[in-house]
Each structure stands twice: as structure tokens, then as C-alpha cells.
Symmetry: C2
Subunit: 333 residues, 2 copies
Amino acid sequence: MTNRAWHLMSRPAGMPTMDDFALRDAPLPELQDGWVRVENKWLSVDPYMRGRMNDVKSYVPPFALGEPMQGGAVGKVVESRSPHFKEGETVFHMQGWREQAAGPAEQFNKVPPLPVEDHQWLGNLGLTGATAYFGLFRAAQAKEGDIVFVSAAAGAVGSAVVQIAKAKGMTVIGSAGGADKCAWVRELGADAALDYKSGPIVKLLTEAAQALGSGGIDVYFDNVGGDHLDAAFATARQNARFAICGMIEDYNTGSSHAFRYIMRIIAARIMLKGFIYTDYLPEMAEFYREMGGWIASGQVTSRETVRDGIEAAPQAFLDLFTGGNTGKMLVRL
Amino acid sequence: MTNRAWHLMSRPAGMPTMDDFALRDAPLPELQDGWVRVENKWLSVDPYMRGRMNDVKSYVPPFALGEPMQGGAVGKVVESRSPHFKEGETVFHMQGWREQAAGPAEQFNKVPPLPVEDHQWLGNLGLTGATAYFGLFRAAQAKEGDIVFVSAAAGAVGSAVVQIAKAKGMTVIGSAGGADKCAWVRELGADAALDYKSGPIVKLLTEAAQALGSGGIDVYFDNVGGDHLDAAFATARQNARFAICGMIEDYNTGSSHAFRYIMRIIAARIMLKGFIYTDYLPEMAEFYREMGGWIASGQVTSRETVRDGIEAAPQAFLDLFTGGNTGKMLVRL
């Protein structure tokens, strides 16, 4: 039984390359009392991991150079020296980017008893869905009747935002890159899908809001920053609320966007709020109940872009920044 | 008795010039039933008026070309056809930029019974003070113990923010242009005053926060936008709150600033909120009670830059954008 793990070998200045990663054998750890060992089945790759490759304290600590990387993962317990876990149980945890995980029992979470596939604990019932849920309902205080704009709407978080906003009676405008992704965003229930590659997003969004009769937006769920955020400033209605979740446009370039319409914060009394889903951990029970219900009823579905084998992890991660995924990007072991 | 009024003659593309204004005689209006006529004693010139010179719907409608300009004013009733006003009463209203004002009684407000000089109704007990008060306590939800950064701290609104923040037990860092203004900001009670002309504001603010032992700021009261706002992003502590009141740096240039540190909105969970004081009109009684008390006790003082005569109004206004004022800029008739 091997225990290969992806190690961070260098800190990229811009877009990472394969040379920044190395797949190395790690020794199988000796289990201490209270520890468990888990064979990983699914690994998550997410845009926020780019920030952890920099040597900068952000909302999560940086990856250590020369050490295995980390990230969301789902696996099965194969060895337990803890009374809390039995062999064969399914758990989710943060020791991804590797074949096997080991550590104290408190680092592992049993999946709640819901009838869903294992990988959902990395998707709509995991970081992805919780980010969509708490960003929309807490950070942006979205409510029935709101006009919601969401960027990267064919991505993992964005596609969840589209569906839960529709489930709660909102009008939804999503943006995505290309006709295929836009078609899927409409399938998810969006009232309009904007192909940001087809023209300036501020123009597309203005026209879409006019076509919907609203003339503007009440909520913006920001996954990308840059021109999308500026377009949201331009079209915000009175008391609009922006959930600032990610700025993927800037993760690699480090460039600083100029905002033509930022002064509309005052005119439209806009509120912006940065968040990550762990801010709302005490409310996870409500999230599981609502999201579990929507998945069971088919109101929230998912699409995955799946790559196979531990070898595939870095390229899967890199492809997130060039639009290589529709829905959640996963690595299956 | 003359009734000269400043008319808007052209819409400036960048910084306005005297050519954009013309002082013209206006006829004395015939009073209709329910109207009053007021002789103006004090006129207010404020940065927000620059926005009204553009033909763009903002939070206040644009000035009409060829028509008298508008703005805060205090005067005395000289003729009344309304049962609600008597000759000799002091009122504040929005028909500034002119010698005489006339209109339906509901356009005029009697000054509350507080023992203050008339011009205070344009300053700490008027738009200026209410903007400081509601921006700090409502938009930014500032509370005792917070580290507050305020830009344009030697300006009308900024100097009020410094003092009411100190009155409520906060630590205050103010920025202003030049040693004299900074000395006055310290006299007002600020724990630190930063001369933004002496170096990059992000560096000055970082050092000031470190010297105060906080390492960062909890509240930013933004009067200027641009580099100051970016410095606030850079130094924000967890759950920092920004009241976005004005972006005077951009009013004339129309340029769009690039923000190097905007991604910290997520890491520090920053909340930004745009506002104008009229959003909080239902709470004016509380404002008068608190601010009236602070003025009576000497905890809040004011400094005025006074220009004399109706002829002086446009230049007084233009000087706001080159730092020509300390405290509130007023025109005395």
C-alpha cells in the first residue's frame, strides 16, 4: 500500500506550473493512541488553494515548502486506534493531495446520515455548498424577490448559488465563459446567463437587468473580482448587498484592478462583506437540513469534472484558472 | 434689496473653474399663500456638490444648467405668508448659493432650541455633524475600544469624526495634508495624525497602527477613496467596518484607482457600507441630543474657514479640492 503525496516544491510568482509540485512517497505513519488512518477516495481542488501557495498569512496559513499540500478529502477509515471510529466508516477531512491520511480522531469528521454520494461532502454538502449558502443568506442577506447576480456561475460555488437562489424565490443572472457553460447555467434555472467572453460584462449585465425589467441588481455574489465587481457597482440598486467570496481573476496575476464605478457605493448605499464559510460553522445544522432537502427533492443538482488518479491532482488544480471545469473539480483515487 | 444667485453655466469635465459659474440677479419672487421668504446669512459649500455639477443621476439630482445652484443655507425669515413662520425666525434650508430664498413653508426648518451660533446648523449640528455621527455609529457600527482611521481629518466631517470617536472612547488615527493641519487634528484629540504628503499613506498608517500597539484598524471613515481606502484595506483587522462617505480624490479627475489590497476584504472579513446622512433622518433627535451635549460640554469644538460675500462662493467651493480649508468652509453674507 503506497502513500504518495503532492509536495509544494516552490512558491510560484504568477500562474503555478507543474514544476511547483512533486509527487513523493511518504512513509506510512505509525498510529498513536487515539489516531485513525484513512484511505482517501476523493480529493478536492479549489481556487483558494492558490493563496496558500504564497508565503503570506491569509485566512488560512500558507502551505509549507517541501511538505505535503492540504485540502478537502473524503475517504474510508482503514485502521483505528480511536474509540470514535470504526474501520469502513466514511469521513471528510483536510488531509487531501495524498493517498492516505493519518492523525488524531478530532481531525476527521463522520459524514452526516444523508443518502448522497461520497463526493457530495466535498461539493454541495461541503465547502462548496456551505460557501454558497452562507454567502448568499448571511453575508449578502439575500431574500425572496431579490435580483441576484453571480459570477463564475458554472463553477462549483456559483452553480450552487444559482440553484439555492432560485429555490428561495429570487431572480438570478449568472455569468460564465462560453456558450456551453451558459447553456448549463440556464439549465440550472438562471433567468439569464451572460457569456463574459462575448463582450464587456458591464454592458451585458446592464442589458440583462433591463431585459428582466429590474434595471439593476440587489445582490452580487462575487467569485472573481475585477471587471465583474465593477459591473456590479455600476448596476447596483439602492441598498444592494455584495458577498465577497473570491477574486480568482487576481489570484495569479497579482494585478490590481481599477474600478470605474466604485463611487456608486455611496449613491446606491452598497454594502460589501467579505466572508468564508467557516465564519458560520455554528449554523451548519441548518445548512445540512436545507441543502439536504434541496438535494433530495432535486432542486439542487450538481455536475462534476472528475480526474482520475493521484497523479492528476496538480493539473486539475491548474485547470481551475483557465475555466477547465464545469461544476466541481474532483480527483478520484 | 438684491437677490443675486450663482447659476451653473457649464458642466465641467474635470476640476471646475470660475467660468462654470455666473452671478446673476434673480427677480424677487411673489410669495404665494403658505410661502416664506428668507434672507440668507450663511451658505455652505461642500465636496458633494461637485457630483451635482455632472449630468448624472446620483444620490442627489444634478444641478440644472442655467439655473441657480442649491446647497445648505441658514437665514432669517423676512416675509411670511405661512402660519408656521414669523418674521425674524432663524431657519436652515437647501436654497443656498443665493442671497434670498423663497418657497413653501415645508422647504424650511426652524433651528432647534440649542444655544449655538447660527452657522453651526451648517456644521456640527447640520449636514457635517450628522454625516460624521451616523457614518461612525450606524454605517461603521463603531464602538468603544475600536481603532478608528479617518481621512481628511482636518476637514469639516473628518474633524467631527475625530472628536465624537474620542468622546465615545475610541482610539483615533487621522490623516491630513501638511504639518499645520496635523497639529490641529492632534489638538482635537487624535492619538495620531498622519501627513499624507510626507509619504505613502499605507506606510504611514501601518507604522501608526504598530506604534499604537494595535497592528491594524477596526473602523475606517472614508472621505477620500483612492490610496487611503487601499491603505485601510491593507491594515484592516478582523471584522473591520468601513463607512464610505466620500471619495473626493476622484470627484474631479474621474480617474479610477487601482486597489492593491482589495483582496483583504475576504481575509479580514471587511464590511463596507456607503451612506449619506439622510438615510438616518428618523434618528435626528438622538443626534441633536448627543451632539448638542458634546458641544455644550466642549468635547466637540469646530473651526471654520469663512469667506465673506456672495461673490466669494465659487472660489470657496473650488478651494475645497486643493485643501484650502481647515474645518468647515462657509460663506458669510
